[in-house]
């Protein structure tokens, strides 16, 4: 089985629109949405959810106010800045300490250092993941609760389930929609994948962030190809990006023009290749063919 992950560094360059088009064009595949804290692919593919599972990101600390003596040792040792003094106390002391559940990383150090055993840990639900059927085949997706922790763990879980699903159904391709950035969820989505498709646009911002993504791909020794979206927005920068890619042995698999059809398709909850056969749709077909060729022929 081959696995493709679509990334960009900079957000909003068109990852999900591309993956939606690939969903319509690719055969015998499983889709996975690994942009777990702002998942959008389901808005186009309108999945029928077959199975829902809870996701437990990590445990969280809670200070039992009745036992807290307000000594402050926990706050001193907490390196996440998650513990703060709270003005309302208990019978013994005028103030106590409290844990901000959004900042708590669940490391457990506060529990270790508390002389009054006032810290308890509860496992928190941080979201859920879904196994679904779409008009373009099976899909695994997820929702990290807003403000939720440990997106990397959820990404790893989604990819694992998607791979299992592909094996069960004897499908030989996994297409993954990734997150912007180059941090925790992106690293979790590239580990052991076959190919990264970097979606760039001809802007200095996107060029800069693509450079960081290429650095990440090199760091983890993962092959990358690039396509340019809204390529005609600035032809000069488009050429610079392409030259930059070639100089680093990164294949450019196509240019997609700036076209309001992207917004129109989204409003109809369809992918660009499903609403017509204009220049953007044709370019997307070419990009898909070239990406597939890169996936199937190792360099």
């Amino acid at each position: 089985m081959k696995e493709l992950v679509v990334l960009s560094g900079k957000g909003g360059t068109g990852k999900t629109s591309l993956v939606a088009a690939f969903a319509a064009l690719a055969e015998r595949k499983v889709l996975a949405d690994c942009d777990v804290d702002a998942a959008d692919l389901h808005l186009i593919l309108r999945p029928k959810i077959l199975r829902v599972e809870a996701f437990e990101g990590r445990r969280r600390a809670r200070i039992v106010a009745d036992r807290c003596t307000a000594c402050g040792v926990c706050a001193e040792y907490c390196r996440s800045g998650a513990i703060a003094c709270h003005p309302s106390g208990n019978e013994a002391v005028a103030k106590t300490y409290r844990v901000d559940p959004l900042a708590c990383e669940g490391c457990g150090v506060c529990g270790l250092v508390c002389p009054s055993r006032a810290v308890e840990f509860g496992s928190g639900r941080d979201g859920g993941w879904y196994l679904s059927e779409t008009r373009h085949g099976p899909m695994v997706h997820a929702r990290l609760d807003p403000g939720g922790e440990n997106s990397g763990k959820l990404v790893t879980l989604v990819r694992k389930r998607a791979r299992e699903l592909a094996e069960e159904r004897h499908l030989d391709l996994l297409v993954v929609d990734g997150s912007p950035g180059i941090g925790c969820p992106v690293i979790a989505s590239v580990a052991g994948t076959d190919l990264i498709l970097g979606v760039a646009e001809p802007t200095l911002s996107s060029q800069h962030d693509l450079g960081r993504l290429a650095g990440l791909a090199a760091h983890f020794r993962i092959r990358m190809v690039v396509c340019l979206n809204r390529a005609d927005l600035n032809p000069e920068i488009a050429s610079t990006v392409e030259r930059w890619c070639r100089a680093r042995g990164i294949r450019v698999v196509g240019r997609i023009p700036y076209d309001p059809v992207f917004d129109r398709a989204q409003m109809q909850r369809k992918s660009v290749v499903e609403v017509g056969d204009g220049p953007a749709a044709r370019a997307l077909r070419d990009v898909w063919q070239a990406t597939l060729a890169a996936l199937e022929t190792p360099e």
Binding site: G12, T16, D209, R212, I237, D263
Partner: protein, 282 residues
């Protein structure tokens, strides 16, 4: 006054608005500090073109085991929730790239065999762009954890004047870390299906954090009116609407400030600031 530009969806225009607002306010003699907290993909420097005066590494503390003192009791591994230190028979292995730097292993070690050593995961650059104070965090490529870098950037928040923070996209911990203790968060979105959906997630996140927020709508005319209807229904003020305009995208593409090239944009930024200030006061 701390203003954070955030969004659920990426690429909706956080950096355009943050850098243009910073520039317009600085031209009006306000004391402005711009802090780029999008440490995975920091782009503010492209538009503000700062002169960087200093770069400081940001490190987390990771364990180093004294093999002589260590009795292989395994308590460090039992404690570590990130599986960054493991005791296997006769060896203790550490995986610094998994370590969150909580310091728990050193605390539980009965032999005091664990020493914590700094491991660089990124840097904070500081400088100036005209009269704008500029602070940027940058996660080192290959490192997963951005919150410690964001915390390091926020240590340079000014005590007075206007602080403009550019947040990372999404609704997970890096976004939460940036919007905490904001006076107001401006959620930048676009009128597309994705823009609306991710706005609702971002609203959920800032509500959990408990900070005041409002919406800025970019590229008006490119989608439907779903965002306006949602905001009206949820009683969320829309403080700015920028029309879909290819010229803005072109100015942006070459790294220029829109306010310096498109007439009227500076006025929009001035109005936005007045509305932000009024929203903070109420």
């Amino acid at each position: 006054m701390r203003i954070v530009f955030a969004s659920g969806k990426g690429g909706t225009g956080k950096t355009i608005l943050a850098t243009n607002l910073a520039s317009v306010l600085a031209d009006q003699d306000h004391a402005v500090t711009y802090l780029d907290c999008d440490v995975e993909a920091p782009n503010g420097h492209i538009f503000l073109k700062p002169v960087i005066a200093s770069r400081e590494p940001v490190a987390i503390l990771v364990p180093e085991v004294d093999e002589v003192r260590c009795t292989r009791c395994g308590r460090c591994g039992d404690f570590c929730p990130s599986h960054a230190i493991v005791c296997l028979g006769n060896a203790v292995l550490t995986f610094p790239e998994l370590c969150h730097g909580c310091g728990g292993c050193a605390l539980v070690c009965p032999e005091k065999a664990i020493r914590e050593t700094p491991r660089t995961i990124g840097e904070v650059a500081r400088g100036a762009s005209g009269s704008i104070r500029f602070v940027e965090g940058r996660l080192q490529i290959g490192q997963p954890m951005s919150p410690p870098i964001i915390r390091a950037v926020k240590r340079h928040l000014p005590r007075t004047g206007i602080a403009i923070l550019d947040a990372p996209p999404g609704t997970a911990c890096p976004m939460v870390e940036t919007v905490r203790d904001a006076d107001i968060v401006l959620l930048v979105t676009e009128p597309t299906v994705f823009g609306l959906h991710d706005l609702t997630l971002a609203v959920e996140a800032v509500r959990k954090v408990g900070v005041p927020f409002a919406v800025a709508l970019n590229r008006v005319g490119s989608g439907g009116d779903g965002v306006q209807r949602y905001c009206a229904h949820a009683n969320i003020p829309v403080l700015l609407q920028v029309p879909e305009d290819r010229r803005i995208a072109e100015v942006y593409s070459r790294g220029d400030l829109v306010a310096q090239h498109i007439p009227g944009f500076d006025g929009r930024m001035t109005d936005l600031f007045a509305r932000l200030r009024a929203a903070v006061r109420s």
